[in-house]
Amino acid sequence: MSKRTLFRLFLALTMLLLVGATVVSATPLPQAEVVYTVKLGDNLWTLAKKYLGSGTAWPAIMATTNQKNIADSTFAYITNADLIHPGWKLLIPSAEAAKTFLATYDRSKPELLFGKRAKGQLVIGSWWTAGGEAEGLAGMFRIYKTKYPDVEIVNATVAGGAGSVFKGVLKTRLIGGDPPDTFQLHAGLEVEGYSPEQYLKPLDDIYTAEGLEKAFPKDLLTLLKYKDHYWGVPVNIHRSNVLWYNKALFEKAGVQPPTTFDEFFAVCEALKAKGIPPYIMGTSGGWEATHVFEDVLAGTVGAEKYRGLWAGTTPWSDPGVTQALENFKRMVSYANADHPAIDWAGAAQYLVDGKGAMFIMGDWANGYFTSKAFTDYGWTSPPGTKGIFVALSDSFALTAKAPNPENARNWLAVCGSLEGQEAFNPQKGSICARTDCNPALFNAYLQSAMADWAKDAIVPSLAHGAAAYESWVSDVKDAINLFITTGDVASTQKALAAACVEAGICK
């Protein structure tokens, strides 16, 4: 190829790129809309040409007719622009209205042709991908679908325990200005990490419209408020502090469920003497150790001081914290040696297989046992936490730049509704955030949790984002992870105190 030919080729390509859109001009025509009955031989193009001056204006007829159909079903509903039948009633817009419509019409958005009913998409971000969680979410999707059949639900899930991976993806999308409409958010101070004033929309109006302030308990509402606004609609409540035990192994060793730390360690010794692994952990996920620590902390210092630690009213140098670290250290010394190799589900499996007697984990473990058809387990509160409900909750938030804010608002209404929560929670293995759910829908464990939820002192979970800012949680997790191996109480307590200062809560 000669140089000149090559250059011409370039020139031609450039010209091609510069070819613009064709311009359509319309002649002045009827000022009012016309009801038209289709006759044999008509098509949208000729009708548009006749009434609106140009065949290219056909989308205006289609959209206007479809919109009318929603209110008045004697009008046709056109699903295929090439197919209209004689006898169909169409609504042809005024030339003015058609012009306005065409100015905003975008061929890449065919939903504009189908009236208000089909409102495009609803993009939901969550980390619910497996087991009961995904089924519960699907249950809420079904309810949404019956109400808004033409909205396409885009389930933007990213797998990964406690949302560790999902949050990374989400934050990138938030900063990049391409957020999902709504996403899963741990209720509580985790919202601070999303800089809600910038990236989220307050939901106070939804709370008013749906009467949610009356439906949720007071403690939960306090937990949900950040900077005097609600930023999420909670769908469920989980309990962090549950001690699960294998009944058969307890019987074998002749022990009773422990209620204090002394009893707990005595039970551990008794089980160990029988050759039974007393206490099971799985820490490979990175958060599980902190999860257990928060329950030990609450059980050692009590509800009031525990709350104070996160509010800055209890100093981290408190001897109660020292004692909690000592208790935790002793607890870990009874744990299975391979705990860094397995995650919480792996640990739960040890209980199912009778390879371990006790296991502290949130009540999603109950769902795991159910899925494995394991029934020979009992539950109690971990040492010292009787009467304390360490709570966490999943909520959904509305992003400030949501592409489909109306659809998202409808979704949040479903999340907060009785119907939505009753569809979600029995599947997920959690209790309703609302107080009026029907207990008969839930299994025995969840019924007991519902009873406790109503009467216990509710304190926020740390490991699951309720008690503290995300950056603070991250620091505590690091400190606890180191503590498991070093066992250095003094330096860990110092690190915890430093984390509180870093978070700006302590001085």
Binding site: P277, N336, S471
Partner: protein
């Protein structure tokens, strides 16, 4: 001007898109990361107030980052040594013109075709030690059943850190000469890292073998023949002829494997996570967590910059010397 150099213009035009793209998406973003690491951006909303090297100072006193640096060095050294040794051994063995060479070559090279994530998951299962009460699993079970039970250990769940104890003889000696700092666990080695090295070596030693094999095949037979005529033993040939001639190959292998190991992330994520007491934590993992869980974007950017510098220290001299050599030719 009739004599316009069209060829030159066309070539510039053709190169421009990729040049612009890499200027923005590679160098632009590197620059932005470097800039972000000097700012106060430690929450979700960007805050570009400059704070100088504050983020770096914070990092180097952060206990987790100190452990990460230690782990990176330990991993890189062990991984390089084992890959080079094993790769070289396999290449020399394969070079003996054995029957079925192609089959063996494919078998050894094959792990490289697998994603590090898959490698990580599989080795996580294999090296899961099991519990004393529940019995061994994976490799430990294998060792047990072939009568080598004394070899089994906790693999990546073992939190032990080997380091020079201050109270030991060498420790006291170091103290006396003012090098007491080397007697802290931060200058030690966490034994859990061995498991990760094992998995990484399994994956990459075949590749090293392929590099060495190509090098061996390019050594002319005349050189060996001449040495043999002079009465050199096979071992002497290996030591005095083959190894020196393979130096450039070794250098390339070190560069390629070295930058993989400095940046290692996926294998650790899939296999062990940060590990117990951060025994298998690496800077890239800390970078991810501190950025996207802790919302400390500036600190994450600092770690990224440090990683870049570490890789640059390894690669830049190589690039410079190879461009010089090309220029000479």
């Amino acid at each position: 001007m009739r004599h316009v150099n069209w060829e030159r213009i066309v070539s510039v035009l053709l190169l421009a898109p990729s040049a612009i793209a890499s200027a923005i998406f590679v160098y632009g973003f590197i620059g932005f990361t470097g800039f972000a690491s000097l700012t106060k951006w430690n929450q979700l909303v960007p805050d570009f107030t400059l704070v100088g090297l504050g983020n770096y100072r914070g990092l180097f006193v952060h206990p987790r980052f100190q452990i990460d640096l230690r782990n990176t060095v330990v991993f890189t050294v062990l991984f390089l040594l084992s890959c080079l040794a094993l790769g070289f051994l396999l290449a020399v063995l394969l070079d003996q013109r054995i029957r079925g060479e192609g089959v063996f070559r494919s078998i050894y090279l094959f792990p490289m075709a697998i994603s590090l994530i898959v490698t990580g998951v599989v080795w996580r299962w294999l090296l899961n030690p099991g519990t004393p009460e529940g019995g061994s699993t994976g490799v430990n079970l294998l060792l047990e059943s072939i009568g080598l039970g004394f070899l089994k250990w906790g693999w990546f769940t073992d939190p032990t850190v080997l380091y020079i104890r201050p109270e030991s003889g060498i420790g006291q000696l170091l103290h006396r000469v003012g090098l007491g700092m080397f007697t802290s666990p931060n200058f030690g080695m966490s034994v859990a890292m061995v498991s990760v090295v094992l998995a990484a070596t399994w994956q990459m030693s075949g590749y090293t073998m392929a590099l060495y094999l190509a090098g061996l095949r390019s050594i002319p037979d005349e050189l060996r023949e001449a040495a043999r005529v002079d009465g050199a033993s096979e071992l002497q040939i290996l030591r005095h002829i083959i190894v020196p001639l393979l130096k450039p190959i070794t250098l390339s292998a070190v560069i390629i494997l070295g930058h993989i190991s400095l940046k290692i992330y996926d294998l650790v994520v899939a296999m062990t996570g940060p590990g117990i007491g951060f025994s298998t934590d690496v800077p890239a993992y800390f970078m991810w967590e501190t950025t996207f869980e802790g919302n400390r974007f500036a600190r994450g950017a600092s770690i990224a910059t440090i990683l870049l510098l570490m890789v640059a220290i390894l690669i830049v001299p190589y690039l410079v010397s190879s461009t010089r050599r090309e220029a000479q030719i």
